[in-house]
């Protein structure tokens, strides 16, 4: 009964989100304009893709307990991989995407196989180092492939016309929504699968998994590669949405912002990751606007400087969540629900 209700609510929300481009709803203070306007749709689509990426990171960090600081590498691999293939070859979009996905899987396999030789903090640092190497490659622009600091514009020849240009933002919005739904379902699938259960067991007690004859290393590698491939897929959609690649997506800071989103939402919670990512993206956007507003410009330096740096506010906010809101938004919601639940029983008695 309860499950059916949850499912219906989810489907309803999804239908509403899918219809947004056809509706004219203003959400003042949150969205820049009416929901059918390209600017708004672009921002919302960015929210969905970020949420999908955060979900893939949550699979890694929340489910398998692997704190990677290099998840951006596979996202960037998707963006740049597809950008380069479309730029340098005549391969159409879908085969190109398949090719890039294969490349992403291979990259994740090699990096994962090496970094999983260490655990805990060392694993975090090693994944960071590999991602940094990727960042260096992208920025160095060897053989004019990546465009260096300038980034790379999307070569639209191989891309269907329906996915190109501001007029088609609506289609890109739907694409982003589909990607989010797809990633959500895949993540749900993996979590519920046998391998997903073993991964959770490895997170809980690795020695015990070995004692019952399981293989923690392989389990972790499977989850690592799957999470990375999802990031690659999201990256490719991101390229289409932004119609270009920028080196900022390959930085360690980008992975750290993913970490911020997941922790904000609540580690291990799927909807927490989605809400965390959407909230983060919207905040980032709104805070940037606040930074350039006249109200802030008129303030004394002590207030103006912090308020004009969105990342400062987000970082501070994150520190406060870690210190005072264990379990993030999902944890807070759970505690709230737990506090409310006994009340009716008491009333009945």
């Amino acid at each position: 009964m309860n499950r059916t209700r949850t499912l219906l609510a989810a489907l309803g929300t999804l239908a509403l989100l899918a219809c947004l481009p056809l509706l004219a709803i203003p959400v003042p203070g949150v969205l820049p304009g009416y929901t059918y306007e390209p600017g708004t749709l672009q921002l919302l689509a960015l929210c969905w893709l970020t949420a999908a990426l955060a979900l893939s990171y949550n699979l890694l960090f929340g489910v398998a307990g692997l704190m990677s600081f290099g998840h951006a590498l596979y996202f960037a691999a998707g963006i740049y991989g597809l950008a380069i293939v479309l730029d340098r070859t005549d391969v159409p979009l879908l085969p190109a995407a398949a090719l890039v996905l294969v490349g992403g899987v291979a990259l994740a396999f090699v990096v994962g196989a090496i970094s999983l030789r260490v655990t805990g903090i060392s694993f975090a640092m090693v994944t960071l180092a590999f991602a940094q190497a990727g960042n260096v490659l992208v920025r160095r622009d060897q053989g004019d492939l990546t465009g260096g600091e300038e980034g790379l514009a999307l070569a639209t020849d191989g891309v269907p016309a329906a996915l190109v240009g501001v007029v088609n933002t609506r289609n890109l919005y739907w694409l982003a929504l589909v990607v989010l739904l797809l990633v959500y379902l895949v993540v749900l699938w993996i979590e519920r699968s046998r391998a997903g259960h073993v991964a959770a067991a490895v997170r809980e007690n690795e020695v015990r998994v070995r004692i019952i004859g399981g293989r923690p290393y392989l389990t972790k590698l499977v989850v690592f590669v799957l999470a990375a491939s999802l990031a690659t897929v999201v990256g490719m959609a991101y390229l289409l949405l932004q119609s270009g690649a920028s080196p900022a997506t390959s930085t360690a800071d980008f992975t750290l912002t993913l970490l911020v989103m997941v922790v904000l939402g609540g580690v291990g919670s799927r909807w927490g990751a989605v809400v965390g990512a959407v909230l983060y993206t919207l905040l980032d956007q709104r805070l940037a606007e606040l930074a350039h507003s006249e109200a802030v410009a008129g303030l004394p330096a002590v207030l103006r400087i912090p308020l004009s740096e969105p990342m400062f506010l987000l970082g501070t906010c994150f520190v406060l969540v870690v210190l005072f809101l264990p379990g993030g938004l999902a944890g807070a919601a759970q505690r709230l629900a737990a506090r409310r639940r006994p009340a009716p029983e008491g009333a009945a008695a």
Binding site: R117, V118, M125, D253, E309, F312, F318, L323
Partner: protein, 291 residues
């Protein structure tokens, strides 16, 4: 031949900088199990404040630099102390959360530094001797390399002496082995934590001012970029091993310089490859205790 000497000399200088950052990371990790992501911010803050103090005496003078180094180290120490007391201590023994707050702190502080000092690098004025080179067997070695090696060696000796001959050093060495037992001997081990953070922060602040002299600029991002190499150095040397960090700093930096020159600017990539290789052969690092 002279090229090789130059590369090794500049490598050693860079290694000195890496060690200044890695020593703090390694000490903090060894005693407290905390990976300190905000360590780069201590460095950047030390650099900016140190330079500002030096400029009061006179930009490009030795007196200014000396004051800058002292103030930079003190600033780093102060920032680290505040961080430990305010953010790390309340999360006692919750290592993941401790890493997360330092991540948040690093994101926030870099943004704040950008807000205060602008996002772009600024040139610095160096004392004349530091801006020039010295002839060593035909190689023109930048004088900053000597200063960095000297500072790295001095900090290494200083920390080793501190650990070996002081009571707090004794507490820290014991704490690395068994923290609970140190407490059970009636010692407030948390004071040692704060002290280790302060010492690490001082080394980073010092490294920050020195880095401005080598790079000839100061920027809000210099901490973050040095921090990544310091991480690599810490893993290669063996997490928590000070001598390991020293050896790895030199190896990594020299290799990086050589690869940059002989292998088409691939220094950064070679370093990551070295990291992969070390992990494959010896996952606990060069001088780390085998798990």
């Amino acid at each position: 031949m002279s090229t090789l000497i130059l590369l090794i000399a500049t490598g050693l200088g860079l290694g000195g900088l890496y060690f200044l950052v890695a020593s703090g990371l390694s000490l903090i990790y060894g005693l407290m199990g905390v990976l300190n992501f905000a360590h780069g911010s201590f460095l950047t803050l030390g650099a900016f404040v140190g330079l500002a103090a030096g400029n009061l005496v006179g930009a490009g003078t030795w007196g200014g630099l000396l004051l800058g180094l002292v103030v930079g180290a003190l600033t780093g120490a102060a920032a680290a102390t505040v961080t430990e007391l305010g953010l790390i201590r309340p999360l006692y023994n919750r290592h993941i959360e401790q890493v997360l707050v330092t991540v948040g702190l690093s994101l926030a502080t870099v943004a704040l530094f950008e807000g205060i000092w602008g996002p772009n690098p600024r040139n610095v004025t160096r004392p004349g001797w530091l801006a020039s080179t010295t002839d060593v067997l035909g190689a023109h070695v930048p004088n900053t390399a000597f200063l960095n090696v000297l500072a790295g060696a001095a900090v290494l000796c200083g920390i080793v002496a501190f650990l070996r001959y002081t009571r707090y050093g004794l507490i820290i060495r014991a704490g690395v082995e068994n923290r609970a037992m140190v407490t059970a001997l009636g010692i407030d081990v948390r004071r040692a934590f704060t002290l280790v953070f302060a010492v690490g922060g001082a080394a980073a602040g010092l490294g920050g001012v020195l880095a401005t002299q080598s790079l000839n600029y100061v920027s809000p991002h210099m901490g973050a970029s040095l921090l990544i190499f310091a991480f690599i150095v810490t893993v290669i040397g063996g997490m928590g091993s000070l001598t390991g960090a020293a050896v790895a700093s030199v190896v990594v930096a020299v290799l990086q310089q050589l690869a940059n020159f002989y292998l088409n600017n691939t220094g950064d990539l070679i370093v990551v490859l070295l990291l992969a290789l070390v992990l494959l052969v010896r996952p606990s690092g060069l001088l780390g205790r085998p798990a």
